[in-house]
């Protein structure tokens, strides 16, 4: 039956017959036209069998002509661009398109897994819950792998997605979702009033159903009218039209999300173009004109290729100029049958019968049938025959004997469901309408309205009118009023319907949810087993959980369940539709933020120099900090770090500490605020001096530590750890704005203003002398330990100098305006050369702070108190401060809490590892004997062995004791001696030198 576009009609359709496009499906070459979808092109070439179903691997064809398609899913493109589960009905044809059918082996026509279909009587709903339980061990080893291999549809690409995505934010007064007749009128009405309008449509052409129907508007072809409207909208500056764009979710406060397929109609996006774009649209008013989705009728073998929604049949004829079959049977419970018969006839497709489920058809239907010489049967189609596609149908008239008719196409319609999904994303429930025999939008979120088929206004003229009304009202609600616009002339074709859901007494399985292979019998079984809530039925049978979220099947299912439970359909209720309206590529949500650009980088002053000199950078939050600076001949990081430490301890080193948080605190009440923020006393801090401080959370645990420098009577300059800078700033603002708003203080971050370097080591002062302008006396007497002052360097550059030491050596921190940072860094290294200076990174910094027993991130883990880390004495008794009261709870002052100690291996050669747990030397390594854990470790070049800090139960009282540091996950168990948490210069003489 197939051949080069053998089923393409001689004329008609919105396709461009002058532009032929080549494509392949399952390796076979075909051609189609510009304006085709993959589905229309396959049908044009007589291809009916397109996929296999999820569970039984039944042959499936093309049911619809839109995004609701449950059957015709393919793998589109190949290699890194392979897209599984792509709907052939929405994939635009492009030259060179490659598509493969999925979920079949070895071939689509001969799929071995279709034996499942023979086992269908066994593989019923709930099958898995009742089986595969014995023996337990077999589940992961045997049963599940088998099930997992069989399940799934298409295959994800094996390589990273090579295309790019982006995200855009847009604002408008009125958002119109759907560019069909109602949407176009709504956009027009709103736009003419001056309101800013965004109109989205999932297709590449505006018009919606009009593109698929032979409708007249204003006495002419509807397409002409569409073109006129589009021209007017295009000409208006306040209108943005987004085609190939699906509005897929509504969120709070008028925020909607849409996906624009920027380049999916091309073989591959050009390098500068994103593949897709997420639109975050913030709209004051939202009008849903998303149209409606047609329902199939449920009957035997209703999933066979050749069974097609009547509306889709018309789409393929009218929009794509394709004959979806040669001999058709039309099966409907509503007047939709008229249009189908008319269009089939005019396309020259033979019509074997019009089967109307109603006891008697309205007169205009019998007249139409007569006019086209079509046999009108009031009855039902009970079954389809044919293995890989429709060969014939069995018909059971209401009166008379059943009979069979040959045909290759069944155009089926049980009416239309308004696309209410977007109206329910914010919790709204659809409302049942008896007259329309479907669910229509219920209570709407504020700022949202519905028009056209989405509101149940199926007839063309009333749809246009309701769109115009909605557009006008929405614009007025946003303050743009204008006279209502006229509704163009159009007919209101008949839309009467007699609810009919499924045919009783069929020979073959009758499917409700095609993709998940849920049949009427599965729903009956679920009900029989007590799964009677619609949600239970959904979850037990997987009904409505396929990639179409039940758009074609769910209402039929609800009706069938209602009948089984003797409830009304509204009593039975609906299952919630969840965002997205149609599936959206995961990559689009990430946009630019993947790979190395997942998060922005923060670069300190020494970044470029470090890169240029092969220094190693390490991620510290968003910062990239120099970790260490390898030199030629050094075997590993440890050798480099040890050399840096030794240089600092013996000569002088320079370290970039620009990443530390820095905050100006100024004003008459600056001290009062700081006294409440820090646990230790600050009142006695003099101008020109700095002090170490600890900050607690209100719950009494340590929050952060740092230095507080008093630059002036009312000007304090505090530093925070790199990790907590933002948290501390926010905490200070909280205290100032919410807890103590009466305080007169101003807080400003200065982290980025200053490039700051630590200069540490016995020769630090000598080096500094080379940099600081001569006018400033930095002798030990004039500028002692913990002194702070503003000076100048390198010939007058603003400089803030601190005498602080994290390393325990004679040390300073020098801050200059950030633009001079890179130059000062190099200047310090240059000036330091004669003194044997070197740059040192965060690793060496870490080693030295452990040698000195200073706490850092591992000890500041949010569960330690000041006392735990040996700072209990700092807590002031004289003042109220954040964390004081809750910090005195029994659980926080329990003397048995693990407290900070130093540790060194008994066998000096052994390595210590952070994360090891402490066990008494003679005790079993069990949870009951867990005495704490190692927080930080380092190899101390100064001591020539590994050292550690840890939190040990009753730690301070256990100095000298030998305990085990057990590390099962690394297979180690080391004897360590508990010592004081200071390994170098315990009396602190060096830093005062």
């Amino acid at each position: 039956m197939s051949g080069p576009q053998s089923n393409r009609l001689a004329s008609g359709g919105g396709i461009d017959r002058s532009r032929a496009l080549r494509f392949t499906f399952d390796g076979r070459s075909y051609s189609g036209f510009s304006g085709d979808t993959l589905a229309s092109a396959l049908l044009a070439n007589g291809v009916r069998l397109v996929g296999r179903s999820f569970k039984y691997h039944r042959p499936r064809g093309i049911l619809s002509a839109g995004s609701e398609e449950p059957n015709a899913l393919v793998e589109l493109r190949n290699g890194a661009r392979r897209e599984p589960n792509t709907r052939a009905t929405t994939a635009e044809l492009f030259d060179g398109l490659v598509a493969e059918s999925q979920n079949r082996w070895p071939s689509l026509a001969l799929d071995v897994m279709s034996v499942n279909s023979l086992l269908a009587p066994v593989f019923v709903a709930g099958f898995y819950y009742k089986t595969f339980m014995w023996p337990a061990a077999f589940w992961e080893k045997l049963y599940e792998p088998m099930i997992r291999r069989a399940a799934g549809l298409g295959r994800a690409a094996a390589e990273p997605d090579p295309d790019s995505y982006e995200k855009v934010t847009a604002f408008c007064d009125v958002l119109v979702i759907g560019g069909g007749p109602a949407g176009l009128m709504a956009a027009l009405a709103a736009a003419r009033s001056g309101a800013s309008v965004i109109l989205t449509d999932e297709s590449f052409a505006l018009g919606g159903r009009l593109l698929s129907e032979r409708a007249e508007i204003d006495g002419g072809d509807a397409n002409a009218w569409i073109a006129r409207v589009r021209d007017e909208l295009d000409a208006l500056a306040n209108v943005r039209i987004l085609t190939r764009t699906t509005l897929f979710a509504a969120y709070d406060s008028g925020t909607c999300a849409a996906i624009e397929r920027v380049a999916d109609h091309l073989a591959a996006p050009p390098p500068h173009m994103p593949r897709q774009r997420i639109w975050r649209i913030i709209a004051k008013q939202v009008i849903v004109t998303a149209g409606a989705t047609e329902r199939p009728i449920v009957f035997g073998n209703n999933d066979r290729p050749g069974v097609m929604l009547a509306g889709a049949v018309r789409s393929y004829i009218n929009r794509f100029g394709v004959a979806p079959g040669r001999r058709a049977v039309v099966f409907a419970n509503n007047d939709d049958g008229c249009a189908t018969v008319r269009d089939l006839a005019s396309a020259g497709i033979e019509i074997a019968a019009l089967v109307d489920t109603r006891a008697s058809s309205p007169q205009y239907i019998s007249e139409l049938a007569a006019h086209h010489g079509v046999r009108l049967v009031n009855g039902v189609v009970t079954d389809v025959e044919g293995r890989l596609g429709v060969r014939s149908v069995r018909i059971r008239p209401h009166a008379g004997a059943p009979f069979t008719l040959d045909c290759d196409l069944v155009a089926v319609s049980s009416g239309w469901n308004p696309n209410v999904q977007i109206t329910t994303h914010l919790g709204g429930k659809p409302r049942w309408s008896d007259t329309l025999a479907t669910f229509v939008p219920g209570e709407l979120p504020r700022g949202m309205s519905v028009a056209g088929a989405a509101a149940g206004d199926y007839a063309l003229h009333s749809s246009l009118a309701s769109g115009a009304r909605a557009g006008h009202t929405a614009a007025e609600a946003t303050g743009f009023s204008s006279p209502p616009i006229d509704t163009p002339r159009a007919d209101d074709e008949p839309t009467s319907i007699a609810a009919f859901w499924h045919v009783q007494g069929t020979r073959h399985k009758a499917f409700v949810d095609f993709q998940n292979d849920v049949a009427t019998t599965d729903i009956a079984l679920a009900e029989r087993e007590g799964y009677r809530s619609i949600e239970h039925v959904k979850r037990y049978t997987t009904l409505g959980m396929a990639t179409d979220q039940g758009r074609t099947g769910s209402v039929n299912a609800i009706a069938i369940l209602a009948a089984l439970t003797d409830k009304s359909i509204p009593e039975t209720g609906v299952t919630a539709a969840r965002p997205p309206f149609t599936p959206v590529a995961l990559g689009a949500f990430a946009g630019h933020h993947r790979g190395r650009t997942f998060k922005p980088e923060r670069r300190p002053a020494s970044y470029d120099w470090t890169k240029a000199n092969a220094g190693v950078l390490v991620e510290t939050g968003l910062w990239l900090r120099p970790a260490y600076f390898p030199r030629a001949g050094e075997r590993d990081w440890l050798e480099s770090v040890s050399r840096e430490v030794a240089t600092v301890r013996s000569a002088v080193g320079i370290c970039d500490v620009s990443t530390l948080g820095k905050i100006n605190v100024q004003g008459p009440d600056a001290l009062a605020l700081l006294e409440r923020l820090y646990a230790n006393d600050l009142a006695s801090l003099r101008v020109g001096r700095a002090r170490y401080g600890v900050m607690l959370r209100e719950d009494g645990f340590l929050m952060d530590d740092g230095t507080i420098a008093r630059l002036d009577e009312q000007h304090y300059f505090v530093t925070t750890t790199t990790a907590n800078a933002a948290k501390v700033y926010q905490h200070m603002q909280f205290a100032l704005q919410w807890l103590w708003p009466e305080l007169d203080v101003q807080i400003a971050s200065a982290t980025e203003q200053w490039a700051q370097f630590a200069i540490a080591g016995p020769r630090a002062r000598e080096l500094l002398r080379e940099i600081i302008d001569a006018a400033h006396d930095i002798s030990n007497a004039a500028f002692p330990y913990l002194a702070v002052g503003d000076v100048t360097c390198c010939g007058g550059i603003k400089t803030r100098l601190y005498r602080l030491s994290f390393s325990g050596e004679l040390a300073y921190e020098i801050g200059v305006p950030a633009r001079f940072g890179p130059a000062l860094w190099q200047r310090l290294l240059l000036a330091g050369e004669p003194l044997g200076a070197c740059a040192y990174g965060s690793e060496a910094l870490g080693v030295m702070r452990i040698e000195k027993g200073h706490i850092s991130g591992p000890e500041l883990n949010g569960t330690t108190t000041a006392a735990d880390v040996g700072l209990g004495a700092m807590r002031s008794r004289k003042k109220d401060y954040i964390g004081r009261v809750l910090g005195e709870r029994p659980g926080l002052v329990d003397p048995a809490r693990p407290a900070l100690v130093g540790l060194r291996p008994v066998e000096r050669a052994q390595r210590l590892r952070a994360g090891a747990h402490f066990i008494a030397r003679t005790a079993e390594a069990t949870a009951a004997n867990d005495d704490g854990y190692m927080t930080s470790t380092a190899f101390s070049p100064s001591l020539g062995h590994w050292i550690g800090l840890g939190l040990l139960r009753h730690g301070p009282q256990r100095q000298g004791e030998i305990i085990r540091a057990v590390d099962p996950v690394r297979g180690e168990d080391v004897l360590v001696e508990v010592v004081a948490p200071v390994f170098i210069d315990a009396r602190g003489e060096r830093l005062r030198a």
Binding site: T169, Y251, D252, S253, G254, T255, R280, I282, G427, R446, E698, D699, A726, Q730, Q733, F734, Q737, W738, L739, P741, E742, D880, R884, V885, L886, E888, R889
Partner: protein, 102 residues
């Protein structure tokens, strides 16, 4: 969800950081039974399903702390005020009641 910052105007959720209940007030240091008062302040929440007052920080904006009155069932926001103003109001009320009781 969007929050109308009194300074910056209507902004998206991703500019703000949620802290928690704004109906609890930090006890005075000299509160009687401070342990109980701080326990309630620090840990007990009415957590209503309906309108409530919450503290939000305009972290990616002007750095104002805000008191947002929001319905936790619908996410609809009834009002947004500067935390400082709300706090100062409460001080005023508290002091007047003290005066009254004094």
């Amino acid at each position: 969800m969007r929050i109308a910052c009194p300074h910056c105007g209507d902004r998206g959720l991703d500019e703000f950081v949620f802290l928690g209940d704004a109906r609890v007030t930090r006890p005075m240091a000299d509160a009687t039974e401070p342990a109980d008062a701080f326990h309630a302040y620090g840990y007990l929440r009415t957590n209503p399903a309906g309108p409530t007052d919450e503290l939000w920080f305009h972290a990616a904006g002007c750095h104002a702390w805000l008191v947002v009155t929001r319905d936790t069932r619908t996410h609809v926001i009834a009002s947004v005020r500067l935390a400082r103003d709300v706090a100062l109001e409460r001080r005023a009320v508290a002091s007047t009641t003290e005066d009254a009781s004094a």
